[in-house]
Assembly symmetry: C2
């Protein structure tokens, strides 16, 4: 069984439609390539209680939790408070982080204090080429909301999550989904280790449905694809990848 993950996007700007979230799709693709199963994405408000209850429940249910957003210096940045509350920890000033922020910003002490506070027991993960290290508390990894920074930090960190790869295959169908539904159903039942998805697509020039196969078991993917191809009328199968 693959390890599981949840991604928690923290930010009113996403919920109000002002900003389009890019981080969840990025993390979804990255985690899949690492062999980690992303089981849940949540977009929640900049609210301490909301963050605390969401992080607490996800940390119990999934192997990894990744948060994005809410770690800047302004009044609406309350992610660290929320995570501290989720684990019943106090916020404490991290002296190393305090130095970094003072050097970088040279700003009022209230701002430095806000950004230098971490939940007790939180680990700053030192990474090559990264100025402000991401924080980990238990199985929760805290990333900034700005996509450029999140990507850079995740890239520097990601090898620690790598697991066995997924094996995948794709079959492109030139026919309506309802024509292949019974066949897919039969194949899905015969190969329970293979996750089979069926995605009708509007506006593609050649195909009407993309069928995807995914599994940790390479042989099972091959067999499921073969079985499907055997059962479908040849003229509606365009190509297999």
């Amino acid at each position: 069984m693959p390890r599981t993950a949840a991604v928690i996007i923290i930010g009113n700007e996403i919920l109000s439609g002002k900003v389009r979230d890019e981080n969840s799709h990025f993390l979804a693709s990255e985690l899949r390539q690492l062999g980690v199963k992303l089981s849940l994405v949540m977009v929640i408000q900049d609210d301490v209680d909301e963050i605390a209850s969401t992080v607490a429940s996800c940390a119990k249910r999934y192997d990894y939790v990744f948060t994005s957003g809410g770690i800047g210096p302004t009044h609406d940045d309350v992610t660290m408070q929320g995570i501290a509350r989720a684990f019943g920890r106090k916020l404490v000033v991290d002296e190393k982080l305090k130095d970094m922020i003072e050097k970088r910003c040279g700003v009022p002490s209230s701002v430095v204090m806000r950004m230098a506070e971490l939940p007790e027991g939180g680990e700053l993960i030192e990474l090559n080429g990264i100025n402000f290290p991401p924080m980990r508390l238990e199985n929760v990894y805290v990333f900034p909301g700005i996509p450029e920074f999140l990507r850079k930090k995740f890239a520097a960190l990601k090898e620690r999550f790598r697991d066995k790869p997924y094996f995948t295959s794709r079959v492109y169908i030139n026919g309506e989904e309802c024509l292949i539904a019974d066949t897919l159903d039969a194949v899905a039942k015969r190969f329970p280790a293979v996750e089979i998805g069926s995605y009708p697509k509007i506006g593609e020039r050649d195909y009407k449905v993309l069928v995807t196969f995914e599994s940790m078991e390479e042989e099972a993917v091959k067999q499921a694809v073969d079985e499907l191809l055997k059962m479908l009328p040849r003229e509606i199968v365009l190509r297999t990848l």
Copy 2:
């Protein structure tokens, strides 16, 4: 207080990174324009229990729940089952829907049956120009995952959700976020009815931080913006919209 909403995106293809979700951003923008407060987005798996528990808890907590995905004819389309379980209802064949599907697809009866089943008490909302009407059960509205279809159906339905508008304003700042944090904090405390957001932006040519103001109270937005402009050094304020 505005009415609240949750959006539930149902689909393994989003979680595995194969497909980028477009529906939550679309619904976020639309709901905001309608004066509805989107409080939560969840992306969950094509799993009956997961759908049932998520829908049940969201339907209790929020005024409206919108789901997207999982209503096609294939084995991985289990949204109707999940919603039925959320409310403790049986799935029953809707004769009108059955006729529509038979006429449209002319397909095996198993597929027709799967697509013609609705939770008991579910209402098909007849809309001009829409072939397959969206379903409502209690405060849950069920939409397809294909963005083109979701948009068309939501557009036909949306006036029923319209409420008092939000008033907004934006101030563009040419300075680091840490320089304005204390000021923002003070303004946010003085105007609790105004939601103030601060968004640093990388790679913009002119501004470094966008500050947004939102409220149902037009006058409060104006006053909060004026207060901020009075307190900030004039040279870092680029423009106000």
